[in-house]
């Protein structure tokens, strides 16, 4: 890891030195004076394409100035200048001279904002893992993706676990009911064999009336509801 950092820092410094020597050699034109800026902004507002080109070119040095603030961000130098250039183009294309801000001030904000948005976007994506990400190769040299090693759909696993936990809770509370209430609920909802029986069937089996079964069932369900509510979150 330290080797990677050293390489990244060396690459950044090398790029920066190249660029500074480039600017020192006057390869990029000097920034506009305030009067020139006013003149070209006026032309830009009239829809002059040439003025737009001049304003972009004469503010390229501003991009370099802004990206110096992001030296420690771990980003490649050439990526940063390019992102800064996108910010600059957006600034020139959306500048409104009606507001009292100078173009250079507005462009600086746009360039900085573009870089910050890029850094945020990268940070967000870093935590994400695609099911189709490669995690290595098998003995035959075929690529193995993350999805290949998942035996079961993760949602199904979660549902199964929750279902088991719910059943455990239910049996814990059913044990606190009276034997008669327990029998009625087990038969009515098929809790042991999955076969749900009618109140009439249960009444015949227990030798009591159907309406009595109904009352026992209602009371048992109410008790269970109360117990679930009391022990919620446990």
């Amino acid at each position: 890891m330290p080797g990677l950092w050293t390489l990244a820092i060396a690459s950044f410094i090398h790029g920066l030195m190249l660029l500074f020597s480039y600017i020192a050699n006057n390869s990029f034109p000097k920034p506009l004076s305030e009067e020139e800026e006013v003149k070209y902004v006026k032309l830009l507002m009239e829809g002059d394409e040439k003025a737009c080109e001049v304003l972009i070119e004469r503010n390229l040095r501003l991009v370099v100035h802004i990206i110096k603030k992001f030296e420690g961000s771990g980003e490649e130098f050439d990526d940063l200048v390019s992102i800064g250039t996108i910010g600059l183009i957006k600034a020139i294309k959306t500048f409104n001279s009606g507001k009292s801000t100078r173009l250079a001030t507005y462009a600086s904000r746009c360039i900085e904002n573009e870089i910050l948005m890029h850094l945020r976007s990268k940070k967000k994506n870093r935590a994400e893992l695609s099911l189709f990400d490669s995690i290595g190769i098998d003995k035959e040299g075929n690529e193995i993706q993350f999805i290949d090693i998942l035996g079961t759909d993760s949602e199904l696993v979660t549902e199964e676990v929750e279902s088991i936990l719910d059943k455990e809770k239910l049996w814990k509370h059913i044990k606190t009911l009276s034997p008669q209430e327990r029998k009625v609920l087990v038969m009515r909802f098929g809790l042991t064999d999955g076969a749900k029986r009618t109140q009439k069937d249960i009444a015949k089996k227990l030798g009591i009336s159907r309406s009595y079964v109904s009352r026992i069932e209602k009371r048992a369900v109410n008790r269970l509801t109360e117990r679930f509510a009391t022990h919620a979150g446990q």
């Binding site: 480039y22 390869s27 250039t85 183009i89």
Partner: protein
């Protein structure tokens, strides 16, 4: 008749007046419009970012 040169981003040949000339490199109108509205995180962002690097890598330009 305007001379046609390639866009530094998409590589399409475009007559010079149809786009922006930045430091000798053409940015066609279509790419210019896309750049105006693109946000970091967009799947195409890297394409435009890499295309614009030509402006900065042209020491001899």
């Amino acid at each position: 008749m305007a001379k046609a040169i390639s866009c530094m981003v998409c590589g399409n040949s475009v007559p010079v007046p149809r786009g922006l000339l930045i430091h000798g490199f053409l940015l066609c109108r279509a790419c210019e419009d896309r750049i105006k509205n693109i946000s970091p995180g967009d799947p195409d962002y890297g394409f435009y970012m890499n295309g614009l690097k030509k402006i900065w890598c042209s020491r001899g330009a």
